[in-house]
């Protein structure tokens, strides 16, 4: 299931709802919670930062393998080349005083999904997230 949103400004909620309504999504509430959170963080990243003013497009899609085990979510945009996975993880052992506000979004994706990868291909950022759902 794929869809292109153009422009993506103010469409965060709509894009997340589209992905979560996919028939590929598991029924299990706990899995849904983790996938939704990862999807939200990844989508928000693109909507906020990929294009100046959010005036650009984004293609999103889901796929479930024939065995119904591996769910794949792909986000594609033609915005500024940016590999979110290169960003350093926040120091989760820092004290309250030292703890930085921010940098948690992609960290959560990494923790909650089983696999996440980024590539820059044909002028597009492509983020692929995978989760074992069975």
């Amino acid at each position: 299931m794929n869809k292109r949103f153009d422009p993506i400004i103010d469409k965060c909620g709509e894009i997340i709802d589209f992905l979560m309504a996919s028939p590929d999504m598991p029924k299990d509430e706990d899995l849904q919670f983790k996938i939704r959170l990862s999807v939200e963080e990844a989508v928000e990243n693109v909507v906020r930062y990929a294009y100046e003013g959010g005036m650009g497009w984004m293609e999103v899609g889901t796929e479930l393998d024939p065995e119904g085990v591996m769910l794949t979510i792909v986000l594609r945009d033609a915005g500024v080349p940016f590999n979110p996975l290169e960003k350093a993880d926040p120091d989760i052992t820092a004290s309250l005083e030292e703890r930085q506000i921010g940098g948690l979004g992609i960290f959560l994706c990494k923790q909650l999904m089983d696999h996440i990868e980024y590539k820059y291909e044909d002028g597009c950022n492509v983020l692929t997230m995978k989760k074992i759902v069975a």
Binding site: I16, E44, I92, E97, R99, I101, G105, L108, Q111
Partner: protein, 100 residues
Amino acid sequence: MNVTINEEGSKALVTLEGRLDTTNADQFQKDITPLMTGSHQEIDVDCTGMEYTSSQGLRMFLMLQKTVSARGAKLVLKNMKPQVKEVFDITGFSHIITIV
């Protein structure tokens, strides 16, 4: 996300209900401003009805904790759903915010 704040002397009793995500984090920040600018010495937050938080929500809790600690007051989050608690655990927030 609905935020209800009741004051009892120097104590604030807060109830959170709903989802805290990218669509309502700005409103949530406005809603909890009285807790940051106020002089409450104890802030008890009932999270029974909080169904979800994204990193946007976590940022707000961290800001609140920093502000509250800076004035020597106490913040306690109570009755958090296991799924939401897991998000606080994964990000190390459980170490810097009191959750009971």
